[in-house]
């Protein structure tokens, strides 16, 4: 009897520990999204000009989005074959492309509020679902993957698709059609940035 009880106690303790650890993970990711999202919303909702908003968002993105990690993932196997100089150049270009993509959206969001709905664990990190409210417009459902220590955004999902995976497909396809030449990719990214208004 004692044995059974003690086994149960041990099992119970293990289970509650596991649950507690899971909860702690989830709350770190949720806290992170609440804090990062809150700061973003403050800038986006302020009465400042669009250029000023973009300037203020920049440090927030650098601090909270794992730009280097995402960039590395997007280069796929070509990261290994790239020279250090090619890598550095690629990361600096990718950084600008990603920042542009996000800041381009700022104009579409006014008077936004958001709330975290669910959090689930995935192999890539904690997947946090958030609903973004814009006055007079349909709610936007956004999923962020939060990973690393300190936590950062490592991926975003749009319409059920991982955006870093889409980007990786885009780049690796381009590279495969240009004999794996990372310089060609860098040149294409440079052209993209030049054309960006």
């Amino acid at each position: 009897m004692f044995n059974v009880f003690s086994r149960r106690t041990v099992l119970g303790a293990v289970v509650s520990l596991a649950v507690a650890t899971g909860a702690a993970h989830a709350s770190t990711a949720t806290d992170f999204v609440n804090s990062f999202g809150g700061r973003l919303a403050t800038v986006v909702n302020s009465g400042k000009s669009l250029d000023e908003k973009k300037k203020e968002v920049l440090p927030l993105l650098k601090e909270n989005v794992d730009i280097t990690g995402i960039g590395r993932y997007c280069l796929g196997k070509y990261w290994r074959t790239a020279t250090p100089a090619q890598r550095d150049k690629y990361i600096s270009l990718f950084d600008q492309v990603l920042v542009n993509t996000i800041t381009d959206q700022i104009g579409n969001y006014q008077g936004v509020s958001f709330r975290v709905t669910t959090t689930t664990s995935t192999p890539e990190g904690e997947r946090v679902n958030a609903l973004i409210d814009r006055p007079g417009q349909p709610e936007v459902n956004m999923q962020l993957i939060i990973g690393g220590n300190p936590p950062k955004v490592v991926d975003m999902y749009g319409e059920g698709a991982s955006l870093r995976m889409n980007q990786r497909g885009d780049y690796s396809s381009y590279l495969a059609r240009h004999n794996g030449d990372v310089d060609a990719l860098n040149a294409a990214l440079e052209r993209q940035l030049t054309h960006h208004q």
Partner: protein
């Protein structure tokens, strides 16, 4: 990269899917003819990294698909985009919304049977109620009254139902004037046409005229509401073909996962 999940874009996708009917056969035939040629199929690469990418892309017919994609984009730039822009300019927004509503409502029987097939009674019930309410109170589908009383639009098609049964997608295909698909969803598309009542309406002269108007309007609305998305994609992507392939396949899988995970009770939410 577009980080928004916007209702308009979803509506555009739906209308586009619906409006493919009249062009599907020609496109499918063209692809099958090309697909039969061995030179248009990529053999699996030897290098393990390349092989992993090859499997992830699920696109052995890439050379043929890219040719078809180029045909589609040629038609888009020469004809569909300018005509779509003119459509947006000429047709008032409420009318465009109504055309999209009609397309959605008349597709509900196919959604209903797909939900039944997937074994999801709550979803099937929602589709049934949407059809009943919108065909009556919504004046033959022109107004989406069902959404106002709590029956929100959702998408299920026979391809997704087959996916929930564990049927593999088969290779990715790009069919001109239909867009991205695969073997399973192509078959599902055929089934959905069989489940759409308008296809059984007798073809008198007036009905034929109506049917053409319905299809042409649906097609125009579908393209018009997608123009911004396609333009963004072409501007932001180095290889739009590959970006579409990745996004579309992931999106289909996520829809299958959503249906599988939808275990809501058949009783209304307030009752639980």
């Amino acid at each position: 990269m577009d980080f928004r999940q916007d209702e308009n874009s979803i509506r555009g996708t739906r209308s586009r899917r619906m409006s493919r009917r009249s062009r599907a056969l020609a496109g499918a035939l063209a692809l099958l003819t090309l697909g039969a040629c061995g030179s248009l199929r990529n053999p699996p690469p030897k290098d393990p990294d390349d092989l992993a990418d090859y499997k992830a892309a699920n696109d052995p017919y890439e050379p043929a698909n890219r040719k078809m994609y180029n045909v589609q984009m040629w038609a888009y730039h020469k004809v569909l985009r300018p005509v779509g822009k003119a459509w947006i300019w000429a047709i008032p927004k409420p009318v465009r919304h109504s055309i999209a509503n009609v397309n959605e409502t008349w597709r509900e029987p196919s959604v209903f049977f797909s939900d039944v097939g997937a074994g999801k009674p709550r979803r099937a019930g929602d589709a049934f109620m949407r059809f009943a309410i919108n065909m009556s109170a919504g004046v033959a589908g022109f107004f989406d009254v069902a959404s106002l009383v709590g029956y929100k639009q959702h998408e299920t098609d026979p391809g997704l139902t087959l996916g929930t049964w564990g049927v593999k997608s088969g290779p990715y295909l790009f069919v001109p004037f239909v867009g991205p698909t695969n073997i399973r969803d192509g078959i599902g598309y055929g089934i959905s046409q069989g489940l759409t009542p308008i296809n059984y309406v007798p073809r008198g002269y007036d009905l034929l005229t109506f049917n053409w108007a319905y299809n042409v309007a649906g097609t125009m609305e579908g393209y018009a509401s997608s123009i911004d998305q396609i333009d963004h994609l072409e501007q932001d992507s180095l290889d739009p073909y590959s970006y579409i392939r990745s996004a579309w396949q992931q999106n289909r899988q996520s829809q299958i996962d959503t249906i599988k995970g939808d275990d809501r009770a058949t009783t209304p939410d307030w009752y639980n």
